[in-house]
């Protein structure tokens, strides 16, 4: 081997090392970017939960807030019997209006849900729901082998629509007592968010309520424990299979002002978006799926920058065009 050849080899290996270092740095940068959006989301969720449940006195005294702000609803599932709640829960309020003798249909609540849904869609589930935050935190616990789906997943996803139709709308309107009042069936028999945010804090601080807890509370505590355990194993089980609010907002996902779009010229169908998606959606096929909670994980992980977010059809945020090299590498 002559000196010239040695020099060429040395230079090549140097270039190789240099490229490797650059790639590693780029990967680190990408991973940091991904972490930053998910961390930001966690902070937004926590801040929103703290702001809308900021009545600290309620937690200390085992009481609830009684101000007029409770005429308004928060967009996420947030029990109005939570001692800190400053606003109302849309699903609880909907049942309250439907099970009252005065109204057979709630213009106010359906209107509010339509407004929230047509602007944000299920972005609310991903960013502004306190019970979503609880599930996201539980999934971070390094226990059990994590799974993305369970047998019958596709069928079970329809269950939330059945719960919405039967427990939130039909039963509260139809099953009434002699005085003409119904019950909030979803809150009473299903909602684990009410048990966690309302039931537990009130029972811990209010001895009178603690004494009154019986079989129904045991049932609800069992449901909450089941949701907690499953949430450690798989992402967002309550949002996928049970939440009637997610079912409503999901219907607006394809037409909401905040939407996703896949640039077919850039997309290489590598499936990375599905791998990172907590709801296990084939994003490249259905960017506005009824199940998408708009967490942004797919957008961040897309190696070619093909997934774009839009506000009423106009592009929002930074959109990175994948380089030719990146696309060739991934195709290999």
């Amino acid at each position: 081997m002559d000196n010239q050849e040695k020099l060429i080899r040395k230079t090549d290996s140097g270039r190789g090392r240099e490229t490797g270092v650059r790639e590693k740095a780029e990967n680190r940068k990408k991973a940091a970017g991904k972490r930053s959006v998910q961390t930001l989301r966690l902070w937004v969720q926590a801040l929103w939960t703290a702001l809308t449940n900021g009545y600290a006195y309620g937690f200390l005294k085992g009481r609830i807030y009684t101000g007029k702000s409770k005429t308004l609803c928060v967009p996420g599932l947030n029990c109005y019997s939570c001692p800190g709640a400053l606003f109302s829960c849309p699903i609880g309020s909907l049942q309250a209006v439907l099970d009252s003798r005065k109204f057979a249909f709630s213009c106010y609540l359906f209107g509010m849900l339509m407004v929230f849904g047509s602007i944000f869609g299920r972005l609310i589930c991903g960013w502004l729901c306190p019970f979503g935050l609880v599930q996201d935190l539980l999934y971070r616990i390094p226990l059990f082998r994590k799974v993305k789906r369970i047998p019958g997943d596709a069928w079970l996803r329809w269950m939330k629509y059945v719960i919405l139709a039967v427990f939130v709308i039909l039963l509260p309107s139809v099953v009434v007592n002699v005085a003409g009042f119904g019950s909030p069936w979803f809150c009473e028999y299903i909602c684990p968010s009410g048990t966690l945010m309302g039931g537990l804090p009130l029972l811990l601080t209010n001895p009178g309520l603690r004494a009154a807890a019986g079989v129904l509370f045991s049932w609800k505590a069992f449901l909450l424990a089941a949701v907690v355990l499953v949430s450690i194993k798989m992402p967002r089980p309550f949002c996928r299979y049970i939440c009637p609010l997610g079912a409503i907002y999901g219907l607006f996902n394809p037409v909401a002002f905040y939407r996703l779009r896949v640039d077919e010229k850039k997309c290489i169908s590598c499936g990375k978006c599905r791998t990172v998606c907590p709801m296990d959606i084939k994003v490249w096929k259905h960017p506005n799926s009824l199940e998408c909670i708009r967490c942004g994980a797919c957008k961040e992980s897309c190696p070619t920058g093909a997934i774009e977010s839009t506000a009423a059809g106009f592009l929002t945020g930074k959109h990175r065009a994948g380089t030719h090299k990146e696309q060739t590498e991934i195709r290999r």
Binding site: K70, S88, G214, P254
Partner: protein, 59 residues
């Protein structure tokens, strides 16, 4: 509407989606106003300022 697997989406152009969204928003706003006129917020408030025994699991 595509209903394959877990990804369900509507087959629509971007323009149509935007118009549909705007329509829903406007209709929602009208419904809210109708609800206010029917004094529904008072019913919501009445329920929300008393501890909901059903919600917390006492019944």
């Amino acid at each position: 509407m595509k209903t394959k697997g877990t990804g369900i989406d509507y087959n629509m152009t971007e323009k149509k989606r935007t118009w549909m969204g705007a329509g829903c928003l406007a209709f929602g706003a009208v419904l809210i106003l109708m609800g206010i006129a029917r004094t529904e917020p008072a019913t919501v408030l009445m329920k929300a300022i008393t501890i909901c025994m059903e919600c917390i699991g006492i019944g």
